[in-house]
């Protein structure tokens, strides 16, 4: 580059690189400053959801289900996370499991509680969804719909490997069996999707939780000590 050209280019470099570096520094400072609060918010939101889907729970332990079907408290281990919840004395209340699937607009992510003692789903919360406001988002708000999940039967058959009855979403107010979900008028796809997501997730998770029940319960006693 010859003299006059580089002289003209210098102010441009100065402006772009200088502003870029100052902006990068500012972002780094704000990121570091807000990170603890953001992580705390996320942990609190998850904790609220875990306690909401497992009534009676007072403490929780995050566990990992490894690829070979074992449960480990080592959260760094490769595998899928779930939360086990216990009462004040360290007795196992149940497990809170995340599940997701396609809704009407986009993926719906749920957290549901499973109680091994009653072999039921004890509640669910929507963690993320983009369902239509006023219609599809009734899956989060409609009290009649949410009442379906206070004790939704997911008991295992004799083999202990699969559910005795698959969860089924039926027409509004047509529920006659404990494994059925009353759908929502105007939110058919969204309410079907919730049933679908739970069916798929429980079919895989429930046998594994039941199999590892003693191991999970032991974590609660450790915690209470």
């Amino acid at each position: 580059m010859n003299g006059p050209d580089s002289e003209r280019a210098w102010p441009m470099y100065r402006a772009l690189v200088g502003v870029g570096m100052a902006c990068g520094l500012l972002i780094a400072i704000v990121f570091a400053g807000t990170r603890p609060a953001i992580e705390q918010n996320r942990a609190e939101a998850l904790e609220r959801a875990v306690f909401a889907v497992l009534p009676g729970a007072e403490r929780r332990v995050t566990l990992i289900l490894t690829a070979d079907g074992r449960v480990t408290p080592d959260v760094e281990a490769p595998g899928e996370r779930f939360d086990a919840a216990f009462d004040a004395d360290g007795n196992l209340i149940g497990a809170a499991i995340e599940a997701s699937g396609m809704g009407y607009a986009d993926t719906i992510t749920l957290l549901y509680g499973y109680s091994p003692a009653s072999e039921t789903i004890t509640g669910f919360r929507v963690l993320a969804s983009r369902e239509t406001p006023g219609l599809g988002d009734k899956i989060e708000k409609d009290p009649a719909f949410l009442a379906n999940f206070e004790a939704l039967d997911v008991s295992l058959d004799e083999t202990g490997m699969s559910l005795r009855n698959a969860i089924e979403t039926v027409k509004p107010r047509a529920k006659s069996e404990p494994w059925q979900i009353d759908g929502i008028t105007g939110a058919t796809i969204s309410s079907d999707a919730v049933g679908e997501i739970l069916t798929r997730s429980t079919a895989r998770w429930v046998p594994l939780i039941v199999e590892n029940r003693d191991e999970i319960a032991a974590r609660g006693r450790d915690e209470a000590r």
Binding site: P11, A15, C23, I27, T34, I38, N41, G134
Partner: protein, 214 residues
């Protein structure tokens, strides 16, 4: 846009509220206006976030206006705007996860709000830092006002509440269309109609006076 000669600092602030209101007069930044005005609280949060970004970027652009060569000015402005948007994004997430979820992708999209780049290019790059900050504050206040006007009407008719508090009787059947995207267009059209009607009437009132003076 026609540059308006203004002198007093108060005027720089007030012009954004009414005479050059970014939404009702300039019809700028329609993407967040239509998308995030389904409730009054979302509208208010979006308005405040935009105001902060505009205020800070206007000030910084005005401070650096002599150091930025013409050829790279747009790139530099975008860099500055994007930085403050990222700051706002992190801050909102730290304050409330629920609010962050409700505003979703639209916080990041403040970067491409033509209103902010427009003010940096048309105003802040030609004025001092103090005046540019006031301009950003005024335009932001006007933007927030307009968003809340839309969000208030949409929430009232669409959910029967205002700022999350139920105000209409329980028997009221919510107009679901108002919280869907279509409701945004209807409400914006109604507000533009009202404001243009008021303006025309005011002009018509002023006409005989001007004639009498000539």
């Amino acid at each position: 846009m026609k540059p308006v000669e203004t002198t007093s600092p108060t005027d720089e602030f007030v012009k954004g509220l009414w005479r050059e209101n970014p939404v009702f007069v300039q019809v700028l930044g329609m993407c967040p206006v239509l998308a995030v005005s389904n409730t009054a609280i979302n509208a208010l949060a979006m308005g405040l976030a935009t105001t902060f970004v505009m205020c800070m970027s206007n000030t910084l652009v005005a401070v650096l206006r002599h150091a930025i060569p013409r050829q790279v000015r747009i790139a530099t402005y975008i860099l500055i705007i994007a930085t403050f948007v990222t700051v706002v994004d992190y801050t909102i997430e730290a304050i409330s996860l629920d609010l962050h979820r409700a505003l979703g992708a639209f916080i990041s999209l403040i970067v491409v709000n033509c209103l902010i780049l427009g003010r940096a290019e048309a105003f802040a790059s030609r004025h001092g830092a103090g005046i540019a900050m006031l301009d950003g504050l005024g335009m932001g206040a006007g933007f927030t006002l307009a968003l809340v006007c839309l969000g208030g009407v949409r929430e009232l008719l669409g959910s029967g509440s205002l700022f999350g508090v139920a105000v209409l009787p329980a028997g009221f059947e919510p107009w679901i269309v108002m919280i869907l995207p279509g409701g945004g267009f209807f409400t914006l059209a109604a507000w533009l109609l009202l404001i243009n009607y008021l303006k025309q009437r005011r002009q018509a009132d002023a006409e005989p006076v001007r004639e009498a003076l000539q």
